[in-house]
Symmetry: C2
Subunit: 423 residues, 2 copies
């Protein structure tokens, strides 16, 4: 018959299994991040090329090759995944997101052809790249949302928000290229730009909140942002203070692009530090859990055969002593019961910590649901739905999340009216 | 190379795997519920026996045999579980809870001996049985908390709260037996009793909220409660309106016990309906998911090879049409992309529904965390910690959950002061 001890060991094995799953999704997440990075660079160069920048042709062609290399690495990571059921937590949602990305990567071949032949507008090209990048970010989001270890969850939440912030920095680069190359900017474009800046700041605030443990990455990040103030910050200020319909000084398109590119490349260094730390953390946790499992086995085989009635006794020196005893080690007289109780308490504490990290993801979920509702009921594209939410937030001077919540609360009113019936 | 289609199929296989896990935990949960029921009856009879009720000896002995039978069934269900890692969602927490229950079941053998020899007080016996029942409820709670299908999650949340409410009804029976057998009741006992009644009502309110789909069980429940008004309700009113330190009419101990037992037995019928429905729902969902998987395979093999560029196109008739198309079926021209998008949307909607059901579990988590904190920092037993929270809530005329939240907010102040250092 399976004993309490057998279930205790099984519980620890489940923990190790979950950590190994997290290691695999973290490796995938790192590749997704790399892929996002190369796509961002290709989007920016495609934009310059389409805006009659013939001098960017060589750089674009070279960048496309780098994107292909990062795609290949991502596909390799996917190939290594064991997609049989039960191997990955949250498999259904994660794999659906992956399937969407793979469709996008196939479509990218055609998009690239259209770009090289200048058969698409800069706007359409930007939108297409952005859609694919959003699909990759959704993969990272699902991975973060399914993490079962608090430290790893915090790192994934930080990583997702960093990527999202970096993506907004990429959108800002594209917005600025259009404005500086066109030599002027109007009020709606300025508002959109400011909105991108604000959203970026929110993302990086969440990133900083959850990356405090990753000391080198946060230090590198602060240093990089201080450096960017001199060029990106200055050009941004120039474009955003110009009054409505104002003209911008000529010839700044390339300057702006290069400054943003340096900023994004510095971000990419931070991203690499984050990814390294994420994988190192996974390895450390697995190693620690394996030591725990072995220690647990030894402890249980030597655990004092306390009187069975102990289950119903009141704790001798308070529950705190159980956790302390676990830390102190096997030289104390321990019963299976003590170990079981300590383990349940530890798992509960972990779940509480997890809830905090996951709450940071809920804002995005609300906005995504509101967008989905608008898309379904108002026949909008995702970009249009997002714009509608953002515009409403600006007009009403409310936060995006508050508008999204209002939309969800009003969902019944948004549905198309039922076909009228004769009575 | 793995295609988007392969990941789409993998996603559906993961869903089926998750449902099969849920089926196994649901079967376990049903056995846990049965075990709780027999333990409740044994607790009540042990109480009567210990309070000098020699006439309950035979009934107690017979009940102990029934408890043993339900234990054996639970152990059988545990035996059937595949405890290898990755087979059950949330395995670490669930198995830790199971290990605790198994320790308790072993200790029960000694407790029973003590009861039969009258070596324990009625109070200590009640506390011991209650601790074991709470351990079983914790297993049901973990199962509810890890469900990944909204319909099954709602049923598990309803089932957990029903069991919890029924356990409070059992505690009320024990409280009443002590009062009616003793022939008097004081104010603190009345307050405790009223608190149990209120907690019961909250549990059954949550049960009703999440069991609306289980029509026969809710109907049977309302009918049962209406019946109980005549006996349990009347005796309860008698005990609770008696003024402070009041005497109770003699000879009502047995009457009260029998009335409560009828009420609990009727609840047990409702519980069986709920468990039947839970397992039927699991079977239905698995069957439906398997049909979906096969349909998906057929659909994907016949899916129109749409131009790859479609990924970047705006939806022709709004996103709503995708979901509609899935419902209408394979005679429509469908692309892999449409199917992927519809699936992601469906999974997202499921997760939103899940969040609603799980929120009902969060109140308990907050109270449990507050109790754990008090146990650790103030060296209290669980019962004492619970009493302290409840007493504070009564004194301050606040809800238990609000007091628990205050305790968590003040956690830093509750820790024992650090040892003083000389400077």
């Amino acid at each position: 018959m399976k004993s309490g001890t057998a279930f205790l060991i099984a519980a620890r094995q489940c923990e190790i299994h979950d950590l190994q799953q997290l290691m695999r999704t973290s490796a995938l997440v790192r590749r997704a991040g790399e892929c996002v990075h190369t796509l961002q660079k290709e989007r920016g160069l495609s934009n310059l090329w389409l805006l009659a920048g013939d001098e960017f042709g060589a750089a674009l062609a070279s960048q496309a090759l780098q994107t292909r290399a990062s795609e290949a690495a991502l596909l390799g990571a996917l190939e290594e995944l064991d997609t049989s059921a039960g191997q990955i937590a949250n498999g259904a949602r994660l794999y659906s997101r992956v399937a969407f990305v793979l469709e996008g990567l196939e479509a990218l071949l055609l998009l690239r052809d259209d770009v090289s032949m200048r058969r698409v507008t800069a706007e359409a090209s930007t939108a297409a790249f952005s859609k694919l990048i959003a699909a990759l970010l959704a993969v990272v989001f699902e991975a973060a949302d399914s993490a079962t270890d608090p430290g790893i969850s915090r790192r994934l939440v930080a990583f997702f928000h960093f990527l999202q912030g970096k993506e907004l920095a990429g959108q800002e680069r594209a917005t600025g290229v259009a404005a500086f190359s066109g030599g002027q900017i109007d009020l709606p474009a300025q508002q959109q730009w400011m909105d991108i800046v604000e959203s970026q700041e929110r993302c990086f605030a969440v990133f900083e909140e959850f990356s405090a443990e990753v000391v080198d990455a946060t230090a590198r990040w602060r240093e990089a942002e201080a450096e960017a103030q001199g060029d990106v910050g200055a050009l941004r200020a120039l474009a955003l203070v110009t009054s409505e319909g104002g003209r911008l000084p000529g010839g700044l398109g390339r300057t702006w692009f290069d400054a943003c590119t340096r900023r994004i490349d510095r971000m990419h260094e931070v991203e690499s530090l984050l990814a390294d730390d994420l994988l190192a953390r996974c390895r450390d946790r697995i190693a620690a859990a394996e030591v725990d499992l072995e220690a647990g086995r030894a402890l249980l085989s030597g655990a004092t055969a306390v009187p069975k009635g102990k289950f119903f006794e009141r704790p001798a020196a308070g529950a705190a002593s159980v956790a302390t005893a676990v830390a102190i080690g096997p030289h104390l007289e321990r019963s299976v019961l003590d170990i079981v109780q300590a383990q349940s308490r530890r798992l509960q504490a972990m779940q509480d910590e997890l809830a905090v990290a996951r709450a940071a993801l809920s804002e995005r979920k609300v906005v995504e649901r509101a967008k989905g509702l608008l898309m379904a009921h108002r026949r909008l594209t995702e970009a249009e739905a997002h714009k509608m939410l953002r515009q409403t937030a600006m007009n009403q001077n409310r936060r995006l999340i508050d508008v999204a919540e209002s939309v969800l609360a009003m969902s019944d009113f948004l549905a198309p009216p039922p076909p009228s019936t004769t009575r």
